[in-house]
Assembly symmetry: C2
Homo-oligomer: 340 residues x 2
Amino acid sequence: MPKTPVEQKHGASRIGSEGDLVQTYLAPLAKDMPGSFGLADDAALLTSEPGTDLVFSTDPIIAGVHFFADDKPRDIAWKALAVNVSDIAAKGAKPVAYLLTFAFPEAPERSWMADFAHGLAEAQAAFGCRLIGGDTDRAPGLLSVGVTMIGAVPTGAFVRRHGAEAGDHVFVSGTIGDAALGLALRRNPLLFERGVTETDRRFLIDRYLRPRPRFALAAALRSHARAALDISDGLLKDLSRLAGGVGIRLRFDAIPLSASARAALSTDARVADATLGGGGDYEILAAVPPSEAQAFSRCAKNAGIDVHDIGVLEGPGLIVFNSDGTEIKPREFGYDHFST
Amino acid sequence: MPKTPVEQKHGASRIGSEGDLVQTYLAPLAKDMPGSFGLADDAALLTSEPGTDLVFSTDPIIAGVHFFADDKPRDIAWKALAVNVSDIAAKGAKPVAYLLTFAFPEAPERSWMADFAHGLAEAQAAFGCRLIGGDTDRAPGLLSVGVTMIGAVPTGAFVRRHGAEAGDHVFVSGTIGDAALGLALRRNPLLFERGVTETDRRFLIDRYLRPRPRFALAAALRSHARAALDISDGLLKDLSRLAGGVGIRLRFDAIPLSASARAALSTDARVADATLGGGGDYEILAAVPPSEAQAFSRCAKNAGIDVHDIGVLEGPGLIVFNSDGTEIKPREFGYDHFST
């Protein structure tokens, strides 16, 4: 069968040199950034605008840990940027530029790299940032993609993780637990066989594969939040980080769930664990002073983002309970790379 | 046998959580950087000084590729920072702060991590930069240490890799080929058994393990160089990058060699290949207009750095020849991760 033009250009042949990889697939992603020097220098240059500070996040993603080696390259690329944009957004900053590193177990195929670059282009357009530099290695082991995201925030407006106070309202964006359910479905497609439709499945898996960082919430956070972070390691774990020493009594049914997650919950009670302890949602968790709660909600709504008030910080511990008042003891509290 | 206090504190036991690793071993390295938030936030904050641009370099180092898994942790740490500071220095910038990521195959031992942190502290003190953020993962495979180095350069003074012109003098700092010989000795301690002393061996291996980035040369580069880069992939490869389309006739005996490298060369003619094609020296290669050559030398000398004029850019190709006029055809041109 004759090859299509795309196959001829980006076929199954492997990339032959670092220069080829960088100039063919990555340099087009840097073309509007003068400080990238077309990815042909050893370092990148950035001037921060007067009145702004720069914000940095670096979360690599690794095959078998943060994604599946056979995920679509464009989804891997999207996730690599999204998880870092999410950190930047939680600080009230906007993404500007990023550095990208690869450790490839073997030279990638042209078709793989073309699809990966497509995913980066989609994510750049969605998040408003551009590639400015990076590095490519070949190393035995699993594919690893490293991103350092550089964001900008008005001077003095960085939103810290710490500083929440008793009485603050805790807000969460979007819905919680979808990504953990999507991961479970990605591992075992037969899970929740009854009661969960094909549309639900696709929705949940998409939430795992394509986190949507809430960068549109940055202005609301800067104006009204006392502290914020993104939910990467699970609601309870990240909530305990936000709360610091203060506690919260959390009603399970105050946690916003998607219709698809509700459908899964109705077939399997263990879904509650995924909601409380599962990571990967990349929603925002914010502590907002009571006097600002209404304004925060309004500002978020104007930015097109749903936020839910899930409770007030008070008391000593983090307690989750059902609508009937019984306490829920989740089996998983959240993700830690070194805990056994 | 009773344990020493250090063994009690940093014994063979493994680190039990990411929080322990970060707070015990890394947070002390961030203590003078307010924008690090004690490594307890999701992102780091940096304000660039007025009149400066920020410069970014990110070169991860991976066990089995850039270092040996059984190298001393403090040497691995030093190298992780040094290779990135070297990129920054070649651009005429000074290192300011860095982000650090780990992919550990298993939770590290306390003693390993304490020694690694010691190496970071040494490198920070030597290079004048501080830790501001990062991330820790556990992933199957080999230890990988990622650094994103942030430097500062006066606005407009960034020294590019490209832009060298015919007639420019090519300067190189320090001595060339030592790191490649050190790597060869690290692989095979019996190499050059005759003619190379134990002191030579130690010197060459140290040059491989502990690159000394030439950050003190930054001011001379800013003031007098037309283009510059650091030699990471081998003299010829990086020279061809600097020269762009222009050529150079390079006399082999104009290349500065250490006494130890000369001793190795006298026992084995293949050492010439290591000098021309071996990477890892992290010396600076600069193209300097003829009118600036003397001033560049003087400025470098005042900064305590030896630089050598190795020839003038002219003609079409990159040709290396002996003092008797015969051409040298190196078997290795330089390192590329994907070439076979």
